[in-house]
Symmetry: C2
Amino acid sequence: MINKKSNTINFKNKLAKFSDYWSPKVVAEMNDYQFKLVKIRGEFVWHEHKDTDETFIVFKGEMKIELRDRTIRLAEGEMAVVPKGIQHKPSATEECHIMVIEPRGVINTGESDSDLAAANDVWV
Amino acid sequence: MINKKSNTINFKNKLAKFSDYWSPKVVAEMNDYQFKLVKIRGEFVWHEHKDTDETFIVFKGEMKIELRDRTIRLAEGEMAVVPKGIQHKPSATEECHIMVIEPRGVINTGESDSDLAAANDVWV
């Protein structure tokens, strides 16, 4: 973990280092929270995180976060927080670059079994 | 707190709603953390937060965060995390728009007495 704190993190430079979708890459930690860059395209699975809220910030493109009763739409320069326990399904028609903020150890697919479950704690 | 969660937050729209410097405005909460937009210009005071890391993300302009042994420089699209207990002094030569992420209740001037201590929990 040497030097992973208090360095300048440039989002574009970090995003240029990977191209896989739905595979979060940690770029920083604050206390027990992680900042993860993710490239997304297509539809993710319905899931929820029972113990934590989850923050989405869009850096490039547009995404949707479907909830059971409505849809959150996010474009570049926008963010939203999905409250804990709320089922949601992220998706993006075109490639979209986002940052997710949540406690270390949270699984991207939450309580759902899915092939989209990604390895945790992968840094870029 | 109705509707403060899971809404779309547009940073530019929120930033257009205030013009005072060094006066953080809360735009969202995730668990016990707050996302605060701040316009900064000039020099802040040396301070530290004994119990928490603090995250800075720059949306517009450039800022410096002086540490006792070096200086973090941040431009648009960059972030850094100042570890807890580390003395730091933010500054910006020209107006700079940033987002600070830290636990609810953290005082912007930390352990320091300063006229720059801002009211907490002001939403925009």
